[in-house]
């Protein structure tokens, strides 16, 4: 059973976003890292990139597949987790903590209303098992 964290917002594409004020931290869920298996490579955007909701911001590659990561909400990238470049396995070991991908300033916080909360996401995952 995969771990879902309260207080985060979730997408159908298995990204999570933690919102503090106008800043969002984005990562990949435990369900997704589990399905992808060992992650061997992560590609991140440049700081300063402006991306719309659903826009691709990065790639995550495992021994099984390469997948694109999409923005849960639009915004400007203010930081990327450079540790993932040399140690992508952090996404497997700590997907909601040290395995974060990017931080953004939200361009339209109202977009967050369309995302799932923890309970809805847990149900969404259960429906796929």
């Amino acid at each position: 059973m995969s771990n879902v964290v309260e207080g985060l917002k979730y997408t159908k594409g298995d990204e999570w976003i933690r919102v503090e004020g106008n800043v969002g931290t984005i990562g990949l869920t435990d369900y997704a890292q589990n399905a992808l298996n060992d992650i061997v490579y992560v590609e991140l955007p440049s700081v300063g990139a402006v991306l719309a909701r659903d826009g691709a911001f990065g790639t995550v590659e495992s021994v099984k597949a390469a997948s694109e990561m999409h923005m849960p909400a639009g915004g400007t990238v203010t930081a990327v987790n450079e540790a993932l470049e040399s140690e992508p396995e952090i996404v497997n070991s700590d997907p909601y903590g040290a395995g974060w991908f990017i931080k953004i300033t939200l361009s339209n916080p109202a977009e967050l209303d369309d995302l799932m909360d923890a309970a809805a996401y847990a149900e969404y995952c259960a429906g796929r098992d």
């Binding site: 399905a35 060992d38 061997v40 021994v63 099984k64 597949a65 396995e89 796929r128 098992d129």
Partner: protein, 500 residues
């Protein structure tokens, strides 16, 4: 099975496989500065060399050795008559810069290949230029682009791609300068029609769809999909890599597709998968005829009488997107594919597709009680299973595939399509007998039982190969792209083979 030693390890000082004739000219000493005291060459006899390389060749697994159900790749048997034809000196030794008068046989073969591919697809014109499927796709999307631009229609920036399409499709879209818009599939595995209709507007240049899809399914509402895209002014591209399911049954051109590509190396039985180059001809309807990549082969002068033959030569379509390849495509592959088409004939190709579909459905129905079949309806030329069970969570598709090797079968495609969890994609092809299919089905059933009764058998497989499980995570992270120097980790405990 033991790991074959390197030829250097078979070396024995003084042994020699070559005997030079005695010296019949005055001996001359080489300058000392040019001499080496040590020369690292293996010293082996002729029989050592022959046995070494024969053993190595037997470690290979190929279609000539056994069943190869690698889904999406159409690993059918490659008839040897194709090789005979490709080796005819008139083809094999032909220089691509010869005057057309001296290459009429080759040009005629290419012309008739174009005609056959046009007939099978229901299209109006064919170019044999693309060197492989992905280049065929690229050519197709460039033609769509040029079509819109030639009409002054510059608004179209997006191409729709269902998530059940081949992975090369979105890549092709990006390469051609378009934005790929992914469409979801519905619960039946078909394109979500509501999502399609919502995406269709005057910014859509076209849609790329794989038929049958990578789920092995024939799109249930294909005419509706085609109409929706045409209604908004877009063109329809069919990825024809799966044409082995449809020859003589359905003509994409008659269904409304504007352009498609073939994979000659799949459908028309030329060696591939490390065994040879591909060929990805494109076929188009009237709208795209002027844009075909060229030159293509045309008739320059009609035959004077019934006993005569026409003069074949090169024709550049008026508004061609240009050349895609030096000279004229992968000609050797075209000869093999043409031979295959002529050996089968029209009705034979129809049978090929009927048996390919029959075989896939035979496997599907035989395994449906042992594996999860996510879309359990009549499939095309391949069937997708889920390689996991709820009651044995530690077993994955990869473990099933590794165990299949112990049964002397090549594993199916793993983890593709991406929209099926733990996907096992099985494409038996038409060339397999019922006995072979039954043996494969029996092995798959055994493995399903072993997964529940003795999962270690799967987790430790394969047992009979010289190299067992390799650490693919380590391999992906620490790429070693040359053979020397041997890195430190090669001696570490993580780097293990089954012979350790």
């Amino acid at each position: 099975m033991a790991l074959e030693p390197l030829i250097y390890e078979l070396s024995s000082p003084g042994r020699c496989g070559v005997h030079l004739p005695g010296l019949d000219v005055p001996a001359s000493e080489l300058p000392a500065a040019l001499l080496r005291t040590e020369l690292d060459l293996p010293e082996v006899s002729e029989v050592d060399v022959i046995r070494h390389y024969l053993r190595l060749s037997q470690l290979n697994y190929g279609i000539d050795k056994g069943f190869y159900p690698l889904g999406s790749c159409t690993m059918k048997y490659n008839p040897k008559v194709n090789e005979d034809a490709a080796r005819l000196p008139g083809f094999a030794a032909l220089h691509p810069l010869l005057d057309i008068e001296d290459a009429q046989g080759a040009l005629m073969l290419m012309y008739h290949t174009q005609e056959w591919l046009a007939e099978l697809s229901g299209m109006k014109g064919v170019s044999l230029q693309p060197a492989a499927g992905a280049q065929g796709e690229f050519a197709g999307i460039l033609m769509i682009r040029k079509y819109h631009l030639s009409r002054g229609d510059t608004k179209r920036t997006r191409i729709l791609v269902p998530n059940s399409a081949h992975g090369t499709n979105p890549a092709t879209v990006s390469m051609a300068g378009y934005e790929a818009v992914e469409l979801p599939s519905d619960e039946n595995g078909d394109v979500d029609l509501d999502a399609l209709l919502a995406a269709c507007d005057d910014t859509v240049a076209g849609m790329m769809i794989t038929v049958p899809s990578t789920l092995g399914l024939f799109e249930a509402r294909l005419p509706d999909v085609i109409k929706a895209v045409h209604d908004c002014g877009g063109l329809m591209y069919m990825d024809g890599a799966n044409m082995n399911a449809m020859m003589g049954v359905l003509k994409p051109g008659e269904l409304g597709f504007d352009v498609m590509h073939y994979n000659l190396h799949k459908t028309f039985s030329t060696p591939h998968g490390g065994g040879g180059p591909g060929s990805g001809p494109v076929a188009v309807n009237e709208k795209l005829l002027p844009f075909l990549p060229g030159p293509i082969v045309g008739i320059l002068e009609d035959a004077g009488s019934l006993d005569d033959v026409p003069l074949f030569g090169w024709v550049m379509p008026e508004q061609s997107i240009g050349r895609l390849k030096a000279f004229h495509g992968n000609f050797g592959i075209i000869v093999r594919a043409f031979t295959y088409m002529r050996m089968n004939g029209g009705s034979g190709l129809h049978d090929v597709s009927r048996y390919a579909v029959l075989n896939a459905n035979y496997v599907r129905t035989a395994l449906r009680d042992h594996y999860v079949v996510p879309h359990d309806r009549t499939c095309g030329h391949e069937v997708v299973l889920e390689g996991h069970w709820k009651d044995v969570p530690g077993i994955h598709a990869l473990d099933i595939s590794k165990r299949l090797m112990d049964y002397n079968f090549h594993p199916p495609t793993n983890y593709f399509p991406l929209i099926v969890p733990e996907a096992l994609m099985i494409e038996p092809t038409e060339t397999e007998s019922k006995e072979t299919l039954d043996a494969f089905i029996e092995a798959m059933k055994n493995i399903a039982r072993e997964a529940h009764e003795n999962p270690e058998l799967l987790l430790e497989a394969p047992h009979i190969t010289p190299v067992g499980r390799v650490d693919d995570v380590l391999a992906a992270k620490q790429l070693v792209l040359c053979c020397v120097p041997i890195p430190d980790w090669a001696g570490s405990p993580e780097f293990k083979t089954s012979t350790d």
